[in-house]
């Protein structure tokens, strides 16, 4: 390898990071949707660009997305499946004028996640391969256990005084039943979307975009429109309210959850981080926000690191699958280059998210939240229409209706993840339910 080639690789990482950072500011746009188009372009002009440089550019995009998507999640309240958990605590921060601090906490978690990936993944090369060989034949059981955990861990909530004991019982169980209804409807939507290409066939690779945006983004935006809140003037602090112990605690929990999610299909960063926060007995929003940042980065970026990790080459996540269409990881040298790319993209993305947040924090309060939410809703609808046509809008509408159930009944939004978990779990268990819904 020559110095020129190495410098070109670094340049492509930077280009990918800048493109990814810019696109990740758009609410509702997932980096995987964009990467799909990049791959289509690459396959038509594949001979022009070196495959390793293309890989590094895509990694730059992915890392920046893992960092920068915090911005639309917090300031525009348009989360994806893995940032939905930070919506409530970050909205509280935003209402206190501490939106930037929330972003810094999440970005710090993400930063530690990147450091953990680049330092610890190579060190645990051997053990990870052994763990994978044990986990691999039991994946469907583990996903089943995750689903069971999600369902069982929701218990009747006591909201305080009630008219009578029966009313208390009804109120307590209402949220659970709403959660189960959300889970059931999301699962059916997932089975349909996974088994039938409803959107135009040439956009089939964007099949999950509409349901995910509907379940998480548009439902949140509609909630914001209903709730009529005000965004106060935001403060730009020079320090954050956190103890190093909280940062470490959150990072370890988040990284563990992210690694768990990166290992397993269907389990996303949110669920992984959420389960890890239970496992590590996390308390408080600060540690939770840090853990969610770490979890998200370890999930997205860790998956690509595991794909290039010698002895493992685990193909998990849409980017690994996309890269594998034109590239097969081979040497330790490539793994070093990927880790180099992750580190460079990590540091750029961190400062991008900090400065983007500072920029928005000083301006966002001037915008009427209703106008902001309506604008974001318009952008999201336009994106879904552009990517998936009117069929996608239809799916998004259904998903939005399902996504509003937990919002209206105060149950967990994590049940919406059944849209991914259930069909993949059924598929891996060898159970076919498509015929129940007249799909074949």
């Amino acid at each position: 390898m020559t110095i020129e080639y190495l410098l070109m690789c670094i340049l492509f990482v930077v280009i990918g990071t800048l493109i990814g950072s810019a696109l990740s500011m758009l609410p509702g746009l997932h980096v995987y949707n964009v990467i799909g188009f990049f791959l289509l372009f690459y396959f038509t002009a594949g001979l022009v660009l070196d495959s390793m440089q293309m890989v590094l550019m895509l990694i730059g995009m992915l890392v920046s997305y893992a960092f920068v998507f915090t911005i639309p999640s917090i300031y525009f309240s348009a989360p994806d499946d893995s940032t939905m958990f930070v919506l409530m605590p970050s909205l509280r921060y935003l209402k206190e004028g501490r939106g930037h601090e929330a972003v810094v906490l999440i970005a710090t978690g993400a930063l530690i996640g990147v450091i953990a990936i680049t330092i610890f993944v190579p060190l645990f090369m051997g053990p990870l391969a052994i763990v994978w060989s044990i986990v691999q034949p039991n994946i469907h059981w583990i996903i089943g256990a995750v689903i069971a955990y999600m369902l069982v861990s929701e218990f009747p909530k006591d909201f305080g005084r009630h008219k009578n004991p029966l009313h208390g019982l009804k109120e307590g169980w209402k949220t659970i039943l709403a959660g189960y209804l959300t889970f059931f409807l999301s699962a059916i939507l997932g089975i349909i979307v996974f088994n039938k290409t409803i959107i135009p066939a040439d956009r089939a690779f964007q099949g999950l975009m509409a349901p995910l945006i509907g379940l998480f983004a548009t439902s949140s935006i509609i909630l914001n429109l209903i709730s009529k809140y005000e965004i106060p003037e935001q403060n730009i602090p020079k320090s954050i309210d956190a103890h190093p112990r909280e940062i470490v605690h959150g990072s370890v929990a988040g990284a563990s959850g992210g690694l768990f999610a990166a290992f397993l299909p269907a389990v996303t960063a949110g669920v992984g981080g959420y389960m890890a926060s239970h496992a590590f007995a996390q308390k408080g929003d600060k540690s939770f926000l840090v853990s969610m940042g770490a979890s998200r980065v370890v999930y997205y970026v860790g998956a690509i690191s595991l794909f290039f990790l010698p002895t493992l080459h685990l193909r998990r996540g849409a980017l690994a699958m996309g890269i594998n269409l034109f590239f097969t990881p081979e040497s330790v040298q490539q793994f070093y280059m990927v880790d180099m790319g992750i580190a460079i993209a990590g540091v750029i993305s961190f400062f991008m998210v900090i400065y983007a947040s500072r920029f928005l924090a000083t301006r966002i309060y001037r915008i009427n939240p209703k106008v902001l939410n309506l604008t974001v809703l318009g952008i999201v609808i336009a994106l879904v229409y552009f990517m998936t046509s009117w069929q996608g809008l239809l799916i998004m509408s259904v998903a939005t209706a399902i996504g509003l159930i937990p919002v209206l009944f105060n149950s967990r939004r994590s049940h919406c993840l059944a849209v991914i978990l259930v069909p993949i779990w059924l598929n891996m268990s060898g159970i076919s339910l498509g015929s129940l819904f007249g799909l074949w």
């Binding site: 391969a129 003037e233 403060n235 493992l312 180099m340 990590g346 961190f350």
Partner: protein, 465 residues
């Protein structure tokens, strides 16, 4: 940003601004009464930025590592173990088996061959898109080639490596020396050549037999050339093309023995046995190379000669397969029987075979001189002929071959003998009285001319009516 008063966090008399939310709070407070943030114990952003910048050190370290990482070292096959499973490895070795293909309803899906580096065997697998690139770059190996291959190692009951890129397959072909006398080669003893020796020769394909692993091409009826199915299925070798004239075949020699005995007795020369027969009486002996000089089917015996020394061999079954002039290898009991010394092949571990040299073809076979089917009444050995005639008689054999006697007044005796290697070469319904056009090769069989319609070539029998 600089004009925003909330950015200036600090004391203003006994009032300070909360560093988190920016609201004014008493300066002796620990927790902000508005946002509950701890005002005293905080982490400065500069420290977090410093941690972020430390990533640049990690990036630099990885860039140095990737720059300095050397090429992949060659690994011995015996050293590949479970810990290398799915690792990218590099192995060098000789191809010890001819390439095989996996074919299904979707066509050829994989190309597979085995290499050996002196420490063990390793299967190399090449799938679909990479396989076709390997074919287009003429990188399909032949038996005896030295290959340097890099790919993903899979540890299983058999060790295998999957090639991901045609560039990671480097082939060094053996030196091919010319063989001009096919008769001498076919009559050569096992020590005349070395197994795996690279040679090339020219000749006519006089017969084609198909097996699951490939085709056996008889060249000038003297030498069998083994054409692996892989070459035909991957369109590297076109049987119809190379059978339409004189072709050149490249490959490696292999001494073919149809039977691999489970027990090997000591090798003796006939002269040694017969110089002191009493000493060797009852000895189990192995004779590597001898020529059949006489056959007595009634008594199940043949007589073999080795360098002028003859002996009787009793073959308990199958004596009819060994004709005078053929070379045999045998293993049996040397003993005195009915007034003479003989070798008796009667026990389960005994055997008699007709070993021979074969050529395992390499992919670069080529047509040297094209011939066309000529409508002539004169026979030329290995000439391609086009003959019209009326079917006087025909016999179909269980093996799928057909022998036809054609009536044509232009030929000696008004008869043309046609031998069809496989009935798939016949188009139309063949019956006595049919008029047919035969395209085939002129050969001599049992002293008579015949036209052989070779299978899987352009030869054919076309039924006119």
């Amino acid at each position: 940003m600089g004009n925003n008063p909330r950015n200036d966090v600090g004391c203003e008399g006994d009032i300070m601004k909360c560093p988190s939310c920016g609201r004014e709070i008493p300066d002796d407070t620990v927790l902000c009464p508005y946002c509950t943030a701890n005002v005293k114990k905080r982490i400065r952003l500069n420290r977090i930025y410093a941690v972020a910048l430390s990533l640049l050190i990690i990036a630099s370290a990885y860039s140095i590592l990737s720059y300095a990482a050397a090429g992949i070292p060659v690994t011995k096959i015996k050293d590949l173990s479970m810990s290398d499973d799915r690792n990218f490895v590099r192995v060098k070795g000789y191809v010890v088996d001819y390439p095989r293909v996996y074919e299904g309803s979707y066509g050829v899906t994989a190309l597979v061959f085995t290499i050996n580096d002196g420490t063990g065997d390793l299967t190399v697998k090449i799938y679909r898109s990479v396989m076709w690139k390997v074919v287009s770059e003429r990188k399909v190996p032949g038996m005896g080639d030295l290959v340097d291959v890099r790919g993903t190692f899979f540890y299983s009951t058999t060790k295998s490596i999957t090639l991901n890129n045609p560039d990671y397959l480097v082939i060094k072909r053996p030196e091919f020396s010319s063989i001009r006398n096919l008769t001498a080669l076919s009559n050569s003893p096992p020590w005349a050549y070395k197994n795996g020796e690279g040679i090339y020769l020219t000749g006519n394909i006089t017969g084609v037999r198909e097996y699951s692993w490939g085709y056996v091409l008889s060249v000038d009826e003297l030498l069998d050339v083994i054409m692996p199915r892989a070459y035909v299925s991957l369109n590297i070798t076109n049987l119809k093309n190379i059978s339409s004239g004189i072709s050149r075949f490249y490959g490696t020699l292999e001494y073919y023995r149809s039977y691999q005995p489970s027990t090997l007795y000591p090798v003796y020369n006939l002269s040694t046995l017969l110089s002191d027969p009493e000493k060797y009486n009852g000895t189990s002996a192995r004779i590597l190379w001898a020529t059949v000089v006489h056959k007595d089917e009634a008594n199940n015996t043949i007589f073999i000669d080795q360098n002028g020394t003859e002996i009787c061999v009793y073959v308990s079954s199958g004596v009819r397969y060994y004709d005078v002039g053929e070379h045999v290898e045998l293993q049996g009991k040397f003993e005195w029987f009915a007034g003479h010394w003989e070798i008796a092949i009667i026990r389960e571990s005994d055997y008699i075979i007709e070993p021979k040299w074969e050529l395992i073809a390499h992919p670069q076979c080529e047509l040297v001189e094209r011939k066309s089917y000529e409508a002539t009444t004169e026979y030329h050995l290995y000439g391609l002929m086009r003959v019209e005639g009326i079917v006087a008689d025909y016999t179909e054999y269980s093996s799928g071959s057909v022998s036809i006697t054609l009536y044509n007044a232009s030929y000696p005796g008004c008869v043309v003998n046609v031998y069809v290697e496989h009935k798939s070469s016949i188009s139309g319904l063949l019956q006595s009285g049919s008029k047919v056009v035969v395209r085939g090769m002129a050969l001599i069989y049992n002293g008579d001319w015949e036209i052989k319609v070779r299978a899987y070539t352009n030869d054919s029998v076309e039924v006119i009516y």
